[in-house]
């Protein structure tokens, strides 16, 4: 639901927000035609439009206190040019510079520094604005809420003041769950319905299980064993077909359909796990599911004799070549370093083994298909379906997010952990200003003069 008070359709204002209403307003934003306005009116219009975007959550009094007419700027220096000339070339010719040709002179002429676009640079120091700029929240207001609700730390200590002014070198971090919620697509009707269904199914299954457990305790174990013995080939085939289905779906199919298929895949994985002898209990956590699956494949491989071991390993390496990352390239000593890496290696190895196995049809499991299966599993682990989350799962970015996606250079962001470092204050450089602002130069200039007046 949009915020009706801030993103309205008549007399539109551009806000620090990713909503589609705001995108529409941004796209059609126009200042009143300057010819019919007095100078004061022009300044007023510019200032009100600019303030609606820059620090709309900050009171005017607070902002006027922050405003500074002195603007930071830098000049990019070329070491070669500095080496060629100690500056006397530029001051020669009675101060107009000695240049060989006119072209050189033109080249020397730098683009102008857009000082007036830096009017609102002091606001970028605020914690809530910085969180929005780092793309951790979908609007500055939401960023502010995160801070107030205690989801933000600065230099590892909780900070509950949205107006905290970051110093160069400060590291701020938002809880990843909140960021996923803020930037992920919301749950829709279909999602909620499926959650309901899933819950219902789970309950029924529980009841059934309870009944079944009472009836036959001894038989079940034997049956499971039988299944697992005849299964290995089937299971792989089944999984593969599911993964293939996901990969091969038409371009025309809707996202909802794909989601369904992904769910089907997940179920298939579960089924496999429940059948295998290593996991008699259905594992809930995806991480453990993943490892179980690898174990299952491992166990199968262990049955095989060791004679074609070398051969398979070679093949395994071959299979991994097309991947860009060298980390998983069959270097076992390195691979044992981290658990995740090891897991990934095991999996690829296991799948490579599987391809070698004569029980499974070689034609059915090509190298690419193994990759597909592996990729599907990895993604399922990284981006699982989890109904307890407040956003639509598997996570996907919210609509129209890409139209606002930019990260200014004065921040260094690590999105994996939702942390960023405020490197320095934003600066202007020739032809470029670091403050992200949707307004043209003229708006910036007028707003600057408006606040300059009051100094």
């Amino acid at each position: 639901m949009r915020n009706r008070a801030t993103t309205k359709l008549n007399k539109p204002k551009v806000r620090q927000s990713w909503s589609k209403w705001n995108l529409y307003n941004l796209q059609r934003f126009k200042l009143p035609f300057a010819v019919y306005r007095t100078h004061f009116q022009q300044k007023w219009d510019a200032k009100s439009a600019a303030r609606a975007y820059h620090g709309e959550q900050v009171s005017e009094k607070q902002w006027t206190g922050m405003f500074s007419p002195r603007i930071r700027s830098v000049m990019p220096m070329d070491a070669r040019k500095l080496a060629q000339d100690d500056g006397s070339l530029k001051s020669a010719g009675r101060g107009s510079g000695l240049f060989k040709t006119e072209e050189d002179a033109l080249k020397e002429e730098q683009k102008q520094i857009p000082y007036s676009q830096m009017t609102f640079a002091p606001l970028e120091r605020r914690l809530d604005v910085a969180i929005f700029r780092a793309m951790f929240a979908s609007s500055a207001r939401q960023a502010r809420q995160f801070v107030i609700h205690g989801a933000v730390t600065v230099n590892g200590k909780p900070m509950r003041h949205p107006s905290y002014l970051l110093n160069p070198g400060d590291l701020f971090q938002v809880e990843p769950e909140r960021v996923m919620y803020a930037t992920g697509a919301p749950k829709d009707k279909v999602d909620r319905r499926e959650i309901r269904l899933a819950n219902k199914e789970a309950e029924e299954a529980k009841e059934k299980e309870a009944e079944a457990a009472e009836e036959a305790e001894g038989e079940a174990a034997e049956e499971a064993k039988e299944n697992s013995v005849e299964n290995p080939r089937k299971t792989l085939k089944l999984l593969l077909s599911q993964a293939k289905e996901i990969m091969s779906t038409d371009k025309k199919t809707l996202p909802a359909k794909r989601k369904q298929e992904l769910r089907g895949f997940q179920k298939a994985v579960r089924r496999v796990l429940s059948r295998s002898e290593s996991s008699t209990i259905l594992t809930d956590s995806l991480e453990s599911q993943f490892s179980q699956l690898t174990l299952l494949l491992r166990a199968r491989e262990a049955d095989k004799k060791n004679k074609d071991m070398e051969e398979t390993q070679e093949k395994g390496e071959e299979a991994e070549k097309p991947k860009s990352k060298p980390e998983s390239s069959a270097d076992d000593a390195e691979a044992t370093e981290t658990g995740q890496q090891q897991l990934r290696d095991n999996l690829s190895e296991a799948f490579a083994m599987a391809t070698q196995n004569k029980e499974v049809d070689m034609s059915e499991l090509t190298r690419d298909e193994v990759q597909v299966l592996k990729r599907a599993l990895v993604q399922m682990r990284d981006n699982p379906i989890d109904h307890s989350k407040p956003y639509a799962t598997p996570w996907r970015p919210r609509d129209y997010m890409s139209a606002f996606a930019t990260i200014p250079r004065y921040l260094e962001v690590n999105h994996n952990i939702c942390a960023a470092v405020y490197l320095r204050h934003p600066v202007a450089r020739p032809g470029y200003s670091e403050v992200p602002s949707p307004f043209s130069d003229s708006v910036g200039t007028m707003a600057f003069t408006w606040y300059l007046r009051r100094r």
Partner: protein, 394 residues
């Protein structure tokens, strides 16, 4: 984070939102051919709820316009295109391919969406600094990344590793999506980084250079950056011998200052005392690069020798910085006495201060003297006093 697979066969096309084909198809077929592909999602203009009235409420008209735009020209913005920016200003060419642009705001020509460090480049920086033990300065020059950014990357990767160790949840799909939306500076183990990530020799514009000064100089005289700095800070011109000395060995004159910033000459007296504005050769973050270029100009053919000299100078620069840091640390330690009494939970750090005429001043209120000032009321309980912290120490 799981490896991002660049292989075409196994692209990110598993999930619906990751697939480039699905996004483009949805944008093309939805608005124009709503009946064929998905009638349920097709946009239909709303009927007025008052069936007998012929006039349309203004808000409804505006909403119609908005949804018309969102389903028409704005539809391509709904989902992102991996590896490309998808901004208001990017447009489609004749073949229907999306041409990405870096201009995110259509009206602001002065802001571009600049690239961020890719996962690989970030790991490479961390690897070079932490595992290969290279200095931040050297890594910054090699990879063309600002020194402050290098330091920040090391901090962030360190934090990420710690979070992984503690099994804390990471926002992996989110990170992947962002890296697909925003331009990135890539790094390849074989080819290195393509184009420089950012300019590393940014010279901050100094306050003293703001005023325009008319300063007549005789045409026979060479007026260079050093002279300009002295004019800006109202310092007398350099002696001829000094000028000649500087011209003879420009690197030595720069190194003298960069390796010992305390030796910068000052002008003015009392409160007006300030340092003489140094030329940009010394104020840029990597002064040694200028010396390197100069060496290349003097001996353009002796590549190896030039490189040796450069490495020596770089090492000297780093040593000087290290030494300076150590000295300052020692001085601080010398003034500090740490006592850990047996009967106390706390450590006492006793610092030496000086109470004298110089520090307290004539009226005893000098700012350099120890202690809180007398005669100044504390307004902390007054209304409107801002009490949020100004810094958080790590």
């Amino acid at each position: 984070m799981a490896p991002r697979i660049q292989n075409q066969v196994v692209s990110n096309s598993l999930l619906p939102y990751l697939s480039p084909s699905s996004t483009t198809s949805s944008s093309t077929c939805l608005p124009r051919l709503p009946s064929t592909s998905s009638p349920s999602l097709a946009y239909r203009p709303r009927q007025s709820c008052r069936s007998l009235s012929s006039t349309v409420a203004p808000q409804t008209r505006r909403r119609e316009e908005m949804f018309g735009w969102l389903h028409g020209p704005g539809a391509r913005l709904k989902n992102h295109v991996p590896g490309q920016t998808n901004y208001l200003t990017s447009f489609k060419d004749k073949d229907g391919n999306l041409l990405s642009s870096t201009k995110i705001f259509p009206q602001n020509l002065m802001y571009r969406s600049e690239s961020i460090l890719s996962e690989d480049l970030r790991n490479e920086i961390y690897d070079r600094v932490v595992r290969q033990k290279r200095s931040v300065r050297a890594v910054s020059v090699e990879l063309q990344v600002d020194m402050r950014r290098v330091a920040a990357v090391v901090r962030l990767v360190e934090l990420e590793n710690r979070m992984k160790e503690q099994d804390k949840p990471l926002a992996l799909p989110y990170a992947r999506a962002i890296h697909e939306m925003v331009p990135t500076s890539n790094y390849n183990k074989e080819y290195g980084s393509g184009r420089p990530h950012e300019g590393i020799n940014d010279l901050p514009v100094h306050r003293l250079t703001n005023p325009q000064i008319f300063y007549p100089v005789s045409e026979s005289r060479q007026f260079n950056r050093v002279d300009a700095g002295r004019v800006f800070s109202a310092a007398p011109a350099l002696e001829t011998s000094q000028v000649e000395e500087n011209a003879a060995d420009p690197y030595a004159s720069v190194a003298r200052i960069t390796q010992n910033p305390g030796s910068i000459e000052t002008v003015g007296k009392g409160d007006d005392e300030q340092q003489v504005l140094q030329p940009s050769d010394m104020r840029i973050p990597h002064p040694h690069l200028v010396a390197k270029e100069r060496q290349n100009i003097i001996n353009p053919n002796e590549f190896h020798k030039n490189r040796e000299i450069y490495n020596e100078r770089l090492a000297a620069e780093e040593n000087a910085t290290q030494e300076r840091k150590l000295k300052a640390e020692k001085r601080r330690e010398k003034q500090m006495l740490r006592v850990q009494p047996a009967d106390s939970r706390f450590e006492f750090r006793i610092k030496d201060v000086v109470v004298s005429k110089e520090t307290t001043g004539k009226d005893g209120r000098g700012a350099r003297a120890p202690g809180r000032r007398y005669g100044v009321p504390s307004y902390d309980r007054k209304r409107g006093q801002v009490k949020i912290p100004t810094r958080v120490v790590v």
